[in-house]
Each structure stands twice: as structure tokens, then as C-alpha cells.
């Protein structure tokens, strides 16, 4: 198999609905990388993932998976992709064993020993009905399916929502383990930005159907800064240095894209390191 640098490439993806539109989305998931997709509810994260899998019909744009278009050879390419939604979409009266039997007949690369290993590792009962599983167990079952057919690309739509921190940590470890193969890649949408801070290499932020940024996570966390100041000090900050501004009753917060440069330029002002949530809030609620 030829080596392709990018697991997923989305170019100018647009999709128009009556009350919402995905507007020329560009996103690259390099092989060997985890890309975290963030944004408010209804920002377009799930729509983007659905467009990758042709679950919705895009108006325009180009999507390639390991250099191939899904429509060229959908069955072959889908063997290499696993999509995990926030809940399992099998009949909840099925047992894990029955679900495995179905998947074994659908995926050519189904690996029964890997499945058994994952079921044991996750501590999931194979003969119990899924309806009797907890939310966390259902997420683990979904992941066991996703990881049992030798997929190379994982598309995860809010996979850890509603889980406790311990279970989330277990699952994040599984993702990091999956990434040991450098041809593997993950696109994960999540509201839990602390999870993304732990595992993601890149953070892509979608706001109102538009890609606001897609940046290296470390660069984002270490380059961005927040100046906290009053009205007088705020006036000293040059317009071009104000990435975004949030005005509160008692202070004004200014997002700067180059923390070191800003610290040199405004040595008297208080500078904080923002987390992903705060950066997102600047773009959503702040003045640009």
C-alpha cells in the first residue's frame, strides 16, 4: 500500500440547510495524528463527520481518505474507517456476542481474538443484553467494535460525553494505544476540551459552520495569551494585538496570539495562559 501523508483531507466542504450552513470547511487529519474538533452545539462538527462518510450529501467540496474518494470504492475504504457516535446504534436487546456475530459477517477484517481481548480488557459481559449496560459500558462496546476490524481512521463524534473521569481516562489511553501505528489517525469531536488537551495533536475549531482555526495544540496553548486589564490599560493595547476582546463588569480580557511578544510589548500588564475552553469562548462571545 502506498504511503499517504494525510488520513483525511477536507477541502472547501459546504452544505446548506434552511437554518444552518457548513461554509467552505477545510480540515486535514495527518496520518499519525489526533485532531480534536471543538465548537458549540450545532456548530457543524457532526455534520462534518457525516459528510466524510457520505451520510449527508455535500453541496460542494472534496473529501479524500488516505488519498481516495469514498465514492470510488466505498466498501474497501469503509473497512479502514470506524465511526463511533455517542451511543450504540444496535438493537439494545442484542447481546455483545450477537453484535459481534453481525459485525463478523459485515467486516472482512473482523478480528475475533482482538474482540475477545477488548471485551475482557473492558470487563464487558458478552451474554448480557446491551439495554442492561451502563452508558460507559455502551461507549466501551462501541469502541470495541471500532477497534476490532483493523481500521486505520477513527471518526469519533462525542465518544466520551456523559462518562466519569476515570472511564474517560481509560478510553483516552485506548486512543493513544491505537496511535502507536503511525498510519493511524483520529478525528474526535468533543465538548470536553480537557480530554483533547491530553491527547490531541491539533485543535480545529468550528463556529457557526465556519472553520475558525485549525492549529497545533501546543502552539495554541503556549503561544496564545490573555491580558487581564482595566479600561485605561486596555487603551494602551494596539488594535493589531487584540485577537479578541471580552468585556466584563470589573475587567477587560484580551486574547493575544503571541504571548511572548505581547509580554515584551506590555510588561506591566497581567498575562495568563488560556486553556482551549477560554480561547473558544473568546471567539464565540468576544468582539473580534
Amino acid at each position: 500500500m502506498s504511503y499517504v501523508n494525510n488520513a483525511l483531507e477536507i477541502r472547501n466542504l459546504s452544505k446548506h440547510y434552511e437554518d444552518f450552513q457548513l461554509d467552505h470547511i477545510n480540515l486535514t487529519v495527518p496520518a499519525g495524528a489526533i485532531v480534536g474538533l471543538i465548537g458549540e452545539n450545532g456548530a457543524g462538527k457532526s455534520t462534518t463527520i457525516k459528510a466524510v462518510m457520505n451520510l449527508i450529501h455535500k453541496d460542494s467540496g472534496d473529501i479524500t481518505i488516505y488519498g481516495q474518494h469514498l465514492e470510488d470504492d466505498p466498501q474497501k475504504l469503509k473497512e479502514e474507517i470506524s465511526v463511533v457516535f455517542d451511543d450504540i446504534h444496535f438493537n439494545k436487546n442484542f447481546t455483545a456476542n450477537e453484535i459481534a456475530a453481525i459485525c463478523r459477517s459485515i467486516y472482512k477484517n473482523w478480528d475475533a481474538s482482538r474482540w475477545n481481548e477488548l471485551m475482557e480488557r473492558f470487563g464487558l459481559p458478552i451474554s448480557k443484553k446491551v439495554k442492561d449496560f451502563s452508558k460507559g459500558m455502551r461507549v466501551k462496546l462501541n469502541l470495541a467494535i471500532a477497534l476490532s476490524h483493523h481500521a486505520r481512521l477513527l471518526l469519533l463524534d462525542e465518544p466520551t460525553s456523559g462518562l466519569d473521569p476515570v472511564m474517560r481516562d481509560d478510553i483516552l489511553d485506548m486512543f493513544l494505544e491505537f496511535m502507536q501505528d503511525e498510519s493511524h489517525a483520529i478525528l474526535i469531536s468533543s465538548h470536553i476540551t480537557s480530554d483533547l488537551e491530553k491527547i490531541a495533536d491539533y485543535i480545529a475549531f468550528i463556529h457557526q459552520g465556519r472553520m475558525v482555526f485549525c492549529e497545533d495544540k501546543d502552539a495554541l496553548l503556549y503561544h496564545y495569551g490573555v491580558i487581564r486589564c482595566g479600561r485605561e490599560d486596555f487603551a494602551k493595547i494596539a488594535e493589531e494585538d487584540r485577537g479578541a476582546v471580552r468585556r466584563q463588569d470589573y475587567q477587560i480580557s484580551v486574547l493575544v496570539r503571541d504571548r511572548q511578544a505581547a509580554a515584551g510589548k506590555y510588561p506591566d500588564l497581567v498575562m495568563d495562559q488560556p486553556d482551549i475552553d477560554e480561547i473558544m469562548l473568546f471567539y464565540v462571545k468576544g468582539e473580534q
Binding site: I56, P74, Q75, K78
Partner: protein, 213 residues
């Protein structure tokens, strides 16, 4: 394909208590008739199980996941038709066998010749296939809830029209009136059925391809 059929049969398996109850009620009610009623009733159960399977898929958002798997719309739709047809055939055979057994042990009258019992069962199976051909595309297009009313309209309207025609003295001329033999009619019916089921399948695939999940 095998995985899709397996999924639907596991759904049937999860309802075995209800199915057994229906089978017992139908058997007690119709096995003693000695005619094709029990086979017809058993094959009718396939439509109930088909509706249930489609409703379950809708509730689980199964098609969304299925389309992320190495499956095509044609395979997903074909599996649904095969599932319903296999149930219809299985129901008819079970009904016929039970009827035959009750006749053999003397529990049911043997007034109707066996060929006529088999023929009436074939006719009822054909009607069920027609219902299946209507149900699948309607359910895929409008969802299970709306389709129930539409199916009801498809059944009630022709019955009402027939009753009205009958009351007003109108008679639909038999094909035999036009000199077509019984065998000719059978061939025409089978051909029409095959065409209708094929057209229904194509329409269902088209609906699924156009739909967004």
C-alpha cells in the same frame, strides 16, 4: 448481506415470546378450518415483523451506522426484502404443515382439496408480497409512523371502492371473460408481482440513496 439478515433475525429472536403467543392464538383459531386461512395468517405475521424491524432500525438509527460500515444502500434494502420474504415463505409453510397435520389427525375438515389449500396459500402469499413491496419504500420515505396510516389508506380505499362498486351493481369482468386461461392468469399475476417487487426495490434503493442520516 448475511450480517444484515442476522441482525433482523436476532430482532425476531428477541420477540420470540410474542411470536409464540400469536402463533398459538392463530393455530387455535384457524388450524381446525382445514383450508388456507392459517397459512395466510402466518404469512401475514411477516408484515408485522417487517414493520417491527423497520421501526427498530429507525429507533436505533441503525441505517446511520450501517452506512458507515462496508455496506451499500442496495445491500441494506435487499436484506430487508429478503428478510420479509423469507418470513412470509416460512409462515406459509408452517401454516400449511399445521393445517395438513390437523387434517391428517382428523381435527380439521378435509372438504377443500389440498391443491386448493395450496393455491389459496399461494394467493395469500402473493398479496403479502404486494404489501411488503408497498411497505418498504413507504417506510424508508416517510418513517414508520406515517407509513402506518398510508398503508391503512392503501388497504381501506380499494376495499371501499370495491364495496361501492358492488353496491352500485358494477362488476369487474374476470380475465377468463376475455378468453385468458387459468394458467395464463397465474403467469400474468406472477410476472406482475415480480415486476412490482423489483420496481419497489429500485425505488427503495433510490429513496435510501437520496436520504440523509
Amino acid at each position: 448481506m448475511k450480517g444484515l439478515l442476522l441482525k433482523d433475525f436476532y430482532t425476531v429472536k428477541s420477540m420470540w415470546k410474542y411470536i409464540l403467543f400469536i402463533a398459538i392464538v392463530f393455530s387455535l383459531s384457524f388450524a381446525g378450518n382445514g383450508d388456507g386461512t392459517l397459512a395466510a395468517m402466518f404469512s401475514f405475521v411477516s408484515t408485522i415483523l417487517l414493520i417491527n424491524s423497520l421501526a427498530q432500525d429507525e429507533m436505533d438509527q441503525w441505517n446511520q451506522t450501517a452506512l458507515t460500515m462496508p455496506l451499500t444502500c442496495s445491500q441494506i434494502v435487499l436484506a430487508k426484502y429478503l428478510f420479509a420474504m423469507l418470513l412470509c415463505i416460512f409462515g406459509t409453510i408452517c401454516g400449511l404443515l399445521l393445517t395438513l397435520v390437523t387434517r391428517l389427525v382428523g381435527l380439521g375438515p378435509d372438504i377443500m382439496p389440498l391443491e386448493m389449500v395450496a393455491l389459496s396459500s399461494a394467493v395469500s402469499s402473493a398479496v403479502i408480497l404486494l404489501v411488503i413491496a408497498l411497505m418498504v419504500p413507504m417506510n424508508l420515505k416517510f418513517g414508520v409512523q406515517k407509513s402506518r396510516y398510508l398503508l391503512l389508506a392503501f388497504v381501506v380505499i380499494p376495499v371501499l371502492l370495491g364495496t361501492l362498486a358492488d353496491a352500485s351493481g358494477l362488476r369487474i369482468p374476470s380475465m377468463m371473460y376475455f378468453g385468458v386461461s387459468g394458467a395464463g392468469i397465474s403467469v400474468m399475476v406472477i410476472l406482475a408481482l415480480v415486476l412490482i417487487v423489483f420496481a419497489s426495490f429500485r425505488i427503495s434503493v433510490r429513496i435510501m440513496e437520496k436520504k440523509e442520516y
